[in-house]
Symmetry: C2
Subunit: 206 residues, 2 copies
Amino acid sequence: MSDASEKKPSRIQLRNRALILEAALDVFSVHGFRGATLDQIADAAGLSKPNILYYFSGKEEIHTTLLNQLMETWLDPLVEMDADGDPLAELLAYVQRKLDMARDLPRESRLFAGEIITGAPHMLPHLRADLKPLFDEKCAVIQGWMDTGKLAPVDPRHLIFSIWSTTQHYADFAVQVGVLMQTDDAAPGADAYLRALFSNLLNPTP
Amino acid sequence: MSDASEKKPSRIQLRNRALILEAALDVFSVHGFRGATLDQIADAAGLSKPNILYYFSGKEEIHTTLLNQLMETWLDPLVEMDADGDPLAELLAYVQRKLDMARDLPRESRLFAGEIITGAPHMLPHLRADLKPLFDEKCAVIQGWMDTGKLAPVDPRHLIFSIWSTTQHYADFAVQVGVLMQTDDAAPGADAYLRALFSNLLNPTP
DNA sequence: TCACTTTTTGACCAATTGGTAAATACACGA
DNA sequence: TCGTGTATTTACCAATTGGTCAAAAAGTGA
């Protein structure tokens, strides 16, 4: 009663909320918000549907919780790009981090992709409030690098788009990549290829 | 009675089937198969739901019809890549065709992306039967170009992946691109950027 | 104009969906 | 061990969904 909001979540609460979010990530990342059902999530979590609604007020709250958690993780690799580091090394390291993320968190990547494809109904505010300022800031950093001749001059915005698209492709289109590569793990080749792609582009003295 | 199958579609049939497919493309490309409803499609087409089921046997048939039509269009730019042309020019022209397609057919791009993200339940056979052989053939062509020293040597498979991802990004993530570029049309910059990206990579004598 | 076919509609299902309410089972500190 | 708040289940809605069917309403050719 000392606090109007919830006091402290019990062990069971913690475990079950995590269970639900984990299951929901599985389901939402494949079927999208509208295509996913509470029954699917309940099954995947090993809980009953009403029990899920005991922990979350509804389907929407589960989805937005997931999206909010994701936003931090998603922006992090770009945040870490250091304006004071070596330009080419910083950018290549950023590519590597994004590629690692596509490998380690493919469901998150697909959840994000699905949300954007459907017009980002739950994420537009986030994009404007969080992503846009960060994007502008890092574009300015890259532009600065180019202005001092440390990188070949290209449009920083399209550069970032191409980093996002090439890396996330391995998560979002994993099925297609799997069919075409026959081997399950496209990882090693992608690494080397993307490093070549972006260092050839950005090297100031070709 | 001369033919057991349908004879010739009437003017009305032709018009309404086109109307339905057009509406369905709008709806499916945004909400995916499971997220889309027949009512939405009916509304968008300006027809009643039972009337739609008069022209198509069900939701699934509309979707697969759309996907089948798409497959041709989708593969076409790659088909046109000519083994006897100038390697670099052929590849850059391919990039340009894909970029034009992302601009002219964004709904088709999103429909395809959505289908792949959800695990390609309706397209896996197509991918294996149509895309895979074409992909292998063109990879061999590119590898041949590289072997004769006319292109810098990189993995042709990842090269194609990166062409697909960078170009389709402008269709699939249009909302995000719009937020970040503030201008509606990212076209001109993307053109020049991608040309630089791929010619720097592929030029045999940097 | 009139018979005949094609197209469209309105009324209706059965299944699925997100969500609720009340009763029940459980955990756990006193 | 007992009582109390926490978890969970059972039994339900009401709305939406994909789809059916028979009747009505256009078209269409003679």
